[in-house]
């Protein structure tokens, strides 16, 4: 019974980790392609921010999958060595997930402020334009 549980959990861990890895790989490859495209075509600093935000979201989603697999692994972790490795990996993933969340929120706030500033600027310009008698 215990062996069966171990086999099932190991299979589930493999599947969940594969999903997480797939999310990270897809996100990284997409971001690399976009970085090259933006770098060659637009050459604008602000054009890089949405790509970095999306890559951050992909990484955060992949991390969620990997943390889920860590939780599953705790069901069958027989030795203290394995538990130690698991704790270290889970700590890194949790810390990175936390910091990624903060970075995403910060960059989103900056993008929103820039958009708001641009709208205000264009609004004041149009206001000047409408008040212009010519």
């Amino acid at each position: 019974m215990e062996e069966l549980l171990e086999d099932v959990v190991n299979a589930l861990v493999s599947i969940v980790e594969a999903c997480g890895a797939a999310v990270i790989i897809i996100g990284a490859v997409w971001a690399f392609a976009r970085f090259v495209w933006v770098g060659l075509r637009r050459r604008d600093t602000s054009a890089f921010v949405p790509v970095r935000l999306t890559l951050g979201r992909f990484l955060a989603l992949g991390l969620e999958f990997q943390l889920a697999s860590d939780v599953l692994r705790t069901a069958v972790a027989p030795s203290f060595r394995e538990l130690g490795q698991l704790a270290a990996v889970a700590a890194i993933r949790t810390a990175l997930n936390y910091f990624l969340g903060k970075e995403i929120a910060e960059e989103r706030r900056q993008v929103a402020e820039e958009t708001k500033g641009a709208r205000t600027g264009s609004g004041s310009t149009s206001a000047h334009g409408s008040s212009d008698p010519a």
Binding site: F32, V36, L40, F48, L59, A88, R93, L96
Partner: protein, 114 residues
């Protein structure tokens, strides 16, 4: 299944490390902004570090991923502080004294060309 799960992320992590370097250099060449290029490089390097943790990671790959994450935040913090100091000193120089560019010009230009 497990073999593929162990081999593919490792291979992709190496490819992503190369891609990170390439994207960083390209960003630096096109935008001429080291901060942005470093951010792009470290973003993709983080993805590579996370892929190294898939499967049954060794202590070395765990330490590598931890160092990348720590380095990323340390460099980001340092760059933000540096940018803030630079902005402040530029504003101060604008109020009183010469521009930083003028000081560098004065230091680098030979005396006979002044």
């Amino acid at each position: 299944m497990t073999g593929v799960l162990l081999a593919l992320p490792g291979l992709m992590a190496q490819l992503l490390s190369g891609a990170a370097l390439l994207a960083g250099v390209l960003t630096l060449a096109t935008t001429r902004k080291p901060t942005l290029a470093l951010s792009v490089f470290l973003d993709l390097l983080t993805a590579a570090g996370l892929l190294r943790l898939v499967g049954d990671p060794s202590w070395q790959s765990i330490a590598t991923a931890a160092v990348i994450v720590a380095l990323r935040h340390l460099i980001g913090f340092g760059l933000r502080i540096g940018a803030r100091n630079w902005t402040t000193s530029t504003q101060d120089a604008g109020r009183s004294g010469p521009r930083p560019g003028m000081v560098v010009d004065r230091l680098l230009r030979p005396a006979w060309r002044r």
